[in-house]
């Protein structure tokens, strides 16, 4: 019985962490598919989103869900702004420079967010359902935090809506075609600038959503964001870079692995996670869903 208890105690938070990494992973996968670059600034955007969410909660005294919704919209436009004014100009030179430009953006965003919001951990409002913060499962007598469960549900909803947006809507179709071959897409009237901007917008929004959902579990700080951003990229690579569904699976694996390693031998928790990433990157360059990470020639 207590093995089941252990599984439940680790499974839910691990899954919740995995979902958030998955959300980040989707953003990175979309970006890579579209413009073959990697976003190092994802962590800083996650931190910024979480901090904005916190200040909205305090300012307007509203619950977690409402503030998260507002944050998602704000960060969407931040993402669009970054792409249009900064990344597109750097991209014109070469996609290699974008990697360093996003690293620079990550430094700028995280230092500005620390300067404005302060660099310590805040307490985020938790989700309370019929009066108690926990869902008590009596036969195993384990208390699971409602905000974990809500976070998992919201993440899945977000993933499904992204899937529908890309496959069902016309703009989604345009985005996927631009991702496959931007020249061809441009010739048949798809404005690649718009699709790239929206890709960044979605990526930033998903990251901020993840940041806010993690608030109740780990508290809100810029530092949390950075750790999550790298893991998001790691998950995306695990799942096969550029493939959205692979990124979700990769993110879930990383989330579970990190929580389990935390249990097995906590001192080397982050080393194991990154080592797993390196093993996958080198031994399985195509990732689970087969995307090229190896340079020919």
């Amino acid at each position: 019985m207590d093995f089941l208890k252990l599984v439940l105690q680790l499974l839910i938070p691990g899954l919740c962490l995995g979902c958030v990494y998955g959300l980040n992973g989707i953003g990175s996968a979309l970006l890579y598919k579209g413009s073959h670059t990697i976003n190092n600034a994802q962590g800083a955007i996650v931190g910024l989103g979480a901090l904005i969410g916190y200040s909205i909660q305090q300012g307007l005294k509203i619950g977690l869900i409402a503030s998260t919704a507002i944050v998602v919209v704000i960060t969407f436009f931040i993402g669009v702004f970054l792409q249009v004014f900064i990344i597109s100009r750097v991209e014109r030179r070469s996609s290699m420079y974008v990697v360093i430009a996003t690293l620079a953006l990550s430094l700028i965003i995280s230092s500005i967010s620390m300067l404005t919001f302060g660099s310590w951990t805040f307490e985020s409002a938790t989700i309370i359902i019929h009066g108690s913060k926990y869902l008590h499962i009596n036969f195993v007598n384990v208390d699971i935090l409602w905000s974990n469960i809500i976070a998992i549900i919201i993440s899945f909803i977000a993933m499904i809506s992204i899937h529908l947006f890309l496959n069902r809507t016309s703009f989604g179709m345009a985005m996927r075609s631009a991702a496959m071959d931007s020249f061809a897409a441009e010739s048949c009237g798809v404005s690649v600038v718009k699709t790239r901007a929206v890709t960044w917008g979605i990526m930033a929004a998903l990251g901020a959503l993840g940041g806010c959902l993690m608030g109740p579990l780990f508290g809100i700080s810029a530092g949390i964001g950075i750790a999550m951003g790298n893991k998001g990229n790691t998950g995306a690579v695990l799942g096969g870079y550029g493939n959205m569904y692979g990124a979700i699976i990769g993110g879930l694996i990383i989330g579970m692995v990190e929580t389990i390693f935390g249990y097995i031998y906590s001192p080397y928790q982050s080393a194991f996670t990154y080592a797993l990433f390196l093993v996958f990157l080198l031994l399985l360059p195509k990732g689970i869903m087969n995307e090229k990470a190896i340079e020919e020639g």
């Binding site: 750097v90 080397y268 080393a271 990157l281 990470a293």
Partner: protein, 340 residues
């Protein structure tokens, strides 16, 4: 007097002699008044970071491979020498052995890295940096003294104890000049040219018999050794090393020094180090200096990426080459008009 200055050769020698004299005398000038001592210490750090940035430049500037985990080799160099010295091995052998360890570690990371695409190499090097840092924090058998950090004894070179900044100054100056000369020799050598060729066009280099993977690995290993050597010097200058000084912040610092100065140029990294150190010292007094410093790294890197990808010295040499080309084109114009 005018004739002497007109003759280019003599002018060069005079500048050289004056500068060498000034370099040798600087520690004496600085230690004469007390606050100069602090700035002498800052200059020593400039030498150490310049060596590390030059090392990184060999990999990023000359061989076109990105490395966001430079701090890993820096820390292996630092901890390697300090641990070996504590075991009683004389400094020289400890340094050589440590450089071998760094070279092996560099080779271990270079072989898989050579076949990775640029972006994934960025992620992989970042991961290596994180792993090494985590191992430093919780080292097997506590050899790195974990987060307590390690005190470093004064550097004794052939029995000569170099503890004060003015003594270290000469040792660091000579090491930096040697590293710059080595880089100059490396670039002008046949291997160096092959590395640069592999950077500019993988297919063309392949077509002319350049084994691209081999030269990428050579460049990475050479770069790791130089960064590791800078790590050793840092340990004996800072006299205290702990895992948090080798965190990701160091890799971004090296990256912005190389990029600002001009990656792919010989003096770029040194110029970048001087400029970044000046920014560091100016910000020193401000509250939240660390954050403003990180902000300035970000702004520097972004500015370089958006406006001058070849950094400051790249800018200078661009202006120079453009002038040469224009002059040549003008000559050719006259020749053609006269000719045809």
């Amino acid at each position: 007097m005018k004739k002497i200055f007109k003759n280019k050769k003599i002018r060069n020698i005079i500048i050289m002699v004056v500068t060498i004299a000034l370099l040798m005398v600087t520690p004496v000038i600085f230690t004469s008044f007390r606050s100069g001592n602090y700035y002498l210490n800052v200059i020593n750090y400039v030498f150490v970071y310049a060596i590390a940035a030059t090392g990184l430049n060999i990999m990023t500037g000359y061989s076109g491979q990105i490395n966001l985990g430079g701090a890993a080799y820096f820390s292996v160099g630092a901890y390697g020498t300090v641990i070996l010295c504590n075991l009683g091995i004389p400094t020289i052998f400890a340094v050589l052995l440590a450089m071998l360890i760094v070279a092996f570690f560099g080779f271990l990371t270079a072989v898989p890295a050579a076949k990775l695409k640029y972006h994934f190499l960025a992620l992989a090097t970042m991961a290596v940096g994180e792993i090494v840092n985590n191992i430093l924090i919780v080292s097997p058998g506590g050899i790195t003294n974990d987060t307590h950090g390690m005190f470093v004894k004064a550097l004794d070179l052939f029995g000569l104890k170099l503890s004060k900044d003015s003594q270290l100054y000469y040792f660091l100056l000579i090491s930096m000049v040697l590293c710059l000369l080595f880089t100059f020799a490396f670039i002008k050598s046949h291997t160096g040219r092959a590395c640069i060729a592999a950077r500019d066009s993988v297919d063309a280099a392949g077509a002319f018999g350049v084994d691209v993977k081999k030269y990428k690995i050579i460049a990475t290993v050479v770069s790791c050794i130089m960064i590791g050597f800078a790590g050793f010097l840092f340990a004996y200058l800072n006299r205290y090393i702990s895992p948090d000084t080798f965190a990701a912040g160091k890799s971004t610092m090296f990256m912005s020094m190389t990029m600002l100065g001009g990656s792919g140029t010989l003096f770029g990294p040194l110029l970048g180090t001087i400029l970044i150190t000046i920014i560091m010292e100016v910000l020193r007094g401000l509250p939240g200096a660390g954050l403003y410093l990180q902000l300035s790294y970000g702004l520097v890197l972004l500015a370089v990426m958006m406006f001058m990808p070849f950094g400051v010295s790249g800018l200078i040499s661009n202006i120079k080459t453009k002038r040469i080309i224009k002059k040549k084109r003008m000559e050719e114009m006259e020749k053609n008009n006269v000719g045809s």
